[in-house]
Symmetry: C2
Subunit: 355 residues, 2 copies
């Protein structure tokens, strides 16, 4: 049976990335050694890191004022690492709470200092993005979650503010051309659009660092990682390599413009299909709908399980909504082919015709 | 050319682990999906984590008073995570400084409170393990590095103390039967005896947690990871799977007793060869020599480069000493076959005959 992988993350990767990753486990770059067995300070691996850093910068169109790091711990580590490095005693972490992950960012930042939720869409169950931001005078930075994986919303343009802008781009990085230069720090767990789980991309403008007095452990200090060329200690070698393969794939396929073309086509097809079928509805504000994760529901909730059963039977993987939201969630990351969305839409139509 | 992989870490893995890991990138457990593309909360992956946890406990002979976690960030993260979770304002982190890594543990702990170096072998350039420990009265715990990868020393029995004993076992975990129950917290970066880089094993006795008042970010809080069954956030899926494959391999081969038999045979052969050849010498105190990493020198240091060149020519990988120590370092982790040490010893003899 042909499987269609709509997992929300870890999620589908391009077939050629998988083929290359498996080959490198047997023999990395004709070294005769596995990628799992080489030293991280060999020129072989230093070249992997440097090519990955350069590719990220090229895709982002960023210059030498930014540094690219490959760290560990996922976005959850960044929820605390950002305030640990940037929030001092007199400042306020200004955070937009438009979903589960923004909410967690609020909680973790509060360990390090004052936090203010500067926009909040919980009044409508996070079905839209609240863009009305009231920044406090002494905000140290503004943090947004650019795509809300769980709720299916996405910022389509970013707040213009006069404090450093921090973006958790875990679930929509590299999905389209993006004004990355509007951000001062961007982070993303790799396991959606950028590779396998186990590595976190951090892109940081150097000028925002070094402004607080808190003592920071080396492993959590962005500046120390920069000084070490992202090789402060043993990095997640294989995950970084899979990210490099995925970054190469994005460029080879045509870069972010091509990703946007594909992602928009997939998302339009799915959202239009939902709108066309009374059996389904999408409660998300139209202007805030995510092109990565579509969250929607059965109009008759008693039919939901039957629909999920059918999805399973037809090889549609990972379409059950997040546990706190319910319903259906279809994730359409870069590597998901249009044909999978087409197959899913046919299934929706067939199901709608039977009820 | 046959390669012999003496890398200090990331290092050699069993060939069948590599074969199984590569196969899982194509098709994990007949799911039709890659191990890189499956959700970490699927029953497929939860079973991987649970089997890995159970195998660790079985190999360690530990009961339910201990918990097994698979975290990220390597030993360097543990250097700060241990004091963050265990060192309060009135306590002292007692740390043995018998090498580069113990020294780093001292530095990172000092971010969180008082630290006392309770034994130190720097007087003889770390060529032995100073076992004369003077614990301060209010020590919160004692931290040792069970094997000094860089310097080639290893604790062959452990200090008996009445405070929690913490062991950084990154480079000798599972090398032989070990009284793991003497420890209250054990950690190890996986990339030597336990798999690929990107995951860190932490085994912790639950009763030592929850005794300090510091606010701890979720991602660094051992208790939160325990409550989440080591799935607090997206874990390093592939690295955990490779650890499971390696743990299975250890058990299948005969467990820790068999590992000790093999490792002792390899280490004896190498150290005896060094002793037998006047061209080489090992400055490490005999009773403290590591069975994992042998550090030694050319008696005539002007011959060192010629020896390293010969090693390279003959496919002996990773035998150059650490940059601060120099000389030769031969790492003989579990997966290294005796035949590699035999080949290396023949090369030493041949080299010695030419000078």
């Amino acid at each position: 049976m042909q499987l269609h992988n709509f997992n929300s993350g870890p999620s589908i990767l391009p077939p050629e990335v998988l083929t290359q990753a498996a080959a490198a486990i047997h023999n990395f770059n004709n070294t005769g050694l596995s990628i799992l067995e080489i030293g991280h300070r060999t020129s072989w691996f230093v070249e992997v890191v440097q090519e990955a850093q350069q590719t990220v910068k090229r895709l982002m169109g960023l210059g030498d004022e930014y540094e690219v790091l490959f760290l560990q711990g996922g976005a959850t580590m960044q929820f605390m690492q950002v305030p640990m490095n940037l929030l001092d005693e007199n400042g306020i972490a200004a955070i937009c709470d438009n979903g589960v992950w923004g909410n967690k960012a609020v909680k973790e930042a509060s360990v390090f200092g004052k936090v203010q939720v500067v926009s909040d869409s919980s009044d409508k169950k996070y079905t839209y993005i609240n863009k009305h931001i009231q920044l406090p005078e002494n905000a140290s930075y503004l943090h947004i979650t650019t795509n809300n994986t769980v709720e299916g919303t996405q910022w389509h343009s970013y707040p213009q503010v006069n404090v450093p802008l921090i973006g958790d781009m875990s679930s929509d990085i590299f999905c389209r051309p993006t004004p990355f230069h509007e951000f001062d720090l961007i982070y993303a767990g790799a396991q959606k659009n950028m590779g396998a789980a186990g590595v976190t991309l951090v892109v940081v403008k150097k000028s925002i660092l070094g402004k607080i007095s808190r003592k920071i452990p080396s492993i959590l200090n962005y500046q120390k990682h920069i000084e070490a060329g992202s090789l402060l200690n043993t990095p997640p070698v294989f995950s970084i390599y899979v990210s490099l393969l995925t970054l190469r794939w994005i460029e080879k396929e045509g870069g972010l413009a091509e990703m946007e073309k594909r992602n928009t086509e997939k998302a339009n097809l799915l959202y239009n299909t939902i709108e066309s079928l009374p059996a389904f509805y999408c409660p998300i504000a139209k202007e805030d709908r995510s092109i990565m994760n579509a969250v929607f529901f059965l109009t008759d909730p008693t039919k939901e399980q039957a629909f999920l059963d059918l999805c399973k039977k037809e090889g549609m993987i990972g379409v059950k909504g997040y546990r706190t939201v319910g319903g259906i969630r279809v994730s359409m990351y870069n590597a998901l082919p249009l044909s999978s969305v087409q197959a899913f839409c046919i299934l929706m139509k067939n199901f709608a015709a039977t009820i």
